[in-house]
Amino acid sequence: MTDSRNGSGAAARTSISVAITGSGGAGVMTAGNMLLEAAAKAGWYGLMVRSSGPQIRGGEAAALCRFATRPVDCLDDRFDVLIAVDWENLHRFADEIPLDSASLMVGDPTQGDPPEVFAKSAARYERLGIKGMAKAIQGSWPNMVVVGVAAGLIGLPKDVLRAVVENMLKKSRAGLAPSLAAIDAGYEAGETMQAGEKLAAPAPRSESRWLITGNQAAGYGAIRGGVRFVAAYPITPATEVLEWLAPALADVGGTLVQAEDELASINMIIGASFGGVPALTATAGPGLSLMTESLGLAVAAEVPIVVIDVMRGGPSTGIPAKSEQSDVSIAVNGMHGDAPRIVVAPNSVADCLMSTQWAVHLAEATQSPAIVLSDQFFGQMRAVVDRPKDVSYQGARLTAAGNTEGYKRYSLTESGISPMAIPGTPGIAYTADGLTHNERGIPSSGAKDHAVQLAKRERKLLGHEYGDYWADVEGDGETAVVTFGSSTGPVREAIARAKADGVPVRLVSMRLLAPAQPAKLAAALAGVKRVLVVEQNHGGQLLRHLRSEFEIPGEVQSFRRPGPLPIRADEVHRQLVQWSNQ
């Protein structure tokens, strides 16, 4: 680890976190996006998280950026730099932008003073007449000055930034020249500010890289997996999956329909998939809840479908635009009757692609519903990632040939997977049914038919060979952390720090939450003395789920906290070291 924590190291830093804030219309998101894109072009990794106040539009906003020499999947524990266009209502972001004595605050003294919460952080306050500087350049804006300041502070090459700005402003009405001038002015100021070391030079690029949000990645994963029909109802923070898919599907010959509600959207995709076309919907907790009944239909009628749940704060409408990992319980348990399903959780922005693609593959292969548990953090975060590798996971459904003699749609095969007749295929037409049925699909209330069909549906999932993809298992040691989804990033950083402290810790980041893989989990945890289960919710939903399926070895602790604040590497690190030293 060459990471110089808290900016106090002598070497150039491998990660710098910069928050850009301001009130409505200040253009902080544009500024953040310019910086991220420029950093990406310059060969760095990085990410940007958007945060805003309760106003629908025009409220205070924060672009939370992290730039790094290696891939990063989470925010850092703290921010090196906070640049405020103005200070209005910025106290609202206090929790999200932790500062300390090694941090630098840059603000415009004509726009008031930093709020109490920031002031008391002991961060150094550098006053800069941002508004005035912008005013001095006719046609420019304060946010362009801020872009310059940030670029100067981290050491972003000017030419790369220039090219990005030119490209981005091509379509905008804002004049390019004044913007570039403002950036230059800011750059000069930033470059010369007393701050920590600049970001180390990027390693040479080996693979191609993408700048992508988790929601886009999930959408693309769906298409790569073979999805050609999507029906959905808008909901934050899943809407961008759909908005990316709408034109993309049209491009590849697929279709997206906006349904009247989630009950319609899930039934539309069930209908499409019954017709042989891999189909998907995307939603958040409230929509997933509404889909519960028809998810059960997909189980009983054995129609493959994929539902992406971009998790947000719950219960009920909760906190629509902020992240939480609290839909585990409903995803793995929330259907009436015995209803086995697949639940997959991506553990990075790039993995939103891979996991969604895998989920399509699993749904199609097992003729079952698959739920992808993404979350708002991944979904709406924009990150620089290595291009995910091409994998062979693609929807491949076992179909029945025309005129098959004595065809039975729900035949009791050994694997539990029965060839599916696709409408259009002659001589094997059948009726799919959500009622308990016999092998032919004819409704039955017989105990035997019921038992064997239940067993068949379970067998399909338990018997599938999930390979190594069920989890990312890393490292060794007597302490292990089991986690999933967007908590993986901070846990991975915490483990790296613990290792630097001489405390080796294993990581098990579970990608396949259901069906549970007790044997694989047991192997991954063999010999551990301590297991810390990390998750971002109040009730310990992952821990409960694990316990219901599996006897966790050793001493078990739970590290959990509800949203919207992300799990921080520092907290996990401290708990790990403390516990391991006991």
């Binding site: 590849v252 329909v257 539309m268 017709g275 620089v384 025309g402 259009g424 002659p426 409704p443």
Partner: protein
């Protein structure tokens, strides 16, 4: 699946008879139920249009009436209560080559499924919606449905609900349905013709069929005497609405036929490969 189908498909292009569309599973309906005749209206319509079982799909929800798919030799989907129209729209949009027909009841279609009904009329996907209306929840043993008369006594609503009855045809028109008809199960031939006409008409077609529930509404046996041929067939929705609004519910025939374009998605047939989409992300 049944003997009839197998031989039918073997015969490949030979036109099929109504009997070829009837499966050999015995309906679970009460003896005398109006829905028996509706099966025969379906099979007549399919045969008369020269459809083939493999290219036809009948989608339904839950209720006595919703049991129809398994009694036919076409593809069928017997889903959850109230959501048949959504499943059917998904199927038709994903597979425009299929003929899609939806079978429903007055509870399934107008109570729990009411929202999908309105939006299906508005969306105008090219499919046909057949509702067997018996003014009661048959399957759950006799509760009032939206079309039940306000004074009909039942255990759940002693003395009647007191509610104005729901006018499905008026709603269909108001919501933009392109074809609106009413049939009577006692006239399977005429109803078969209505269904055939509905299937032929592009866009969303709605056929309401008066289909008596002899068990919970034995008085509906009298419907036979009440029905008469419809005096109107107009293509002005406002006029059709006014006339339907004032009819007594027993006019049989095509009551409205419009000229709306069916819903379709403008998809360039696979203009790009999935990998082409990556360009948008590349740095």
């Amino acid at each position: 699946m049944t003997a009839a189908t197998t031989s039918a498909t073997a015969r490949a292009t030979i036109p099929l008879t109504a009997a070829d569309f009837k499966s050999d599973y015995k309906p679970i309906w009460c003896p005398g139920c109006g829905d028996f005749s509706v099966v025969s209206s379906f099979t007549r319509a399919f045969a008369s249009l020269g459809l083939r079982p493999e290219n036809t799909a009948v989608i339904s929800g839950i209720g006595c009436s919703s049991r129809i798919p398994a009694y036919l030799t076409s593809y069928g989907f017997h889903g959850v209560h109230g959501r048949s129209l959504a499943a059917a729209a998904g199927l038709k949009l994903a597979r425009p080559d299929l003929t899609v027909v939806v079978a429903s009841g007055d509870g399934d279609g107008y109570s729990i499924g009411g929202n999908h009904f309105m939006h299906a009329c508005r969306r105008n996907v090219d499919m046909t919606y057949v509702v067997m209306d018996n003014h009661v929840y048959g399957m759950t043993k006799g509760q009032p449905s939206p079309t039940t008369e306000p004074d009909w006594d039942s255990k759940l609503s002693p003395g009647g609900t007191g509610l104005r009855t729901f006018h499905p045809l008026v709603i269909a028109l108001a919501a933009g349905a392109n074809f609106v008809a009413r049939g009577f199960s006692g006239d399977p031939k005429g109803t078969g013709e209505l269904i055939a006409e509905a299937i032929k008409t592009p866009g969303f077609s709605f056929v309401e069929i008066l289909s008596p529930c002899v068990t919970f509404r034995p008085e509906q046996r009298e419907w036979r005497k009440a029905v008469r041929e419809a005096p109107i067939n107009t293509d002005d929705p406002a006029r059709a609405a006014r006339l339907i609004m004032t009819d007594d519910g027993f006019n049989i025939g095509i009551l409205y036929r419009g000229h709306r374009e069916p819903y379709y998605r403008k998809t360039d047939k696979a203009a790009k490969q999935p990998a082409d989409l990556e360009k948008g992300f590349a740095i």
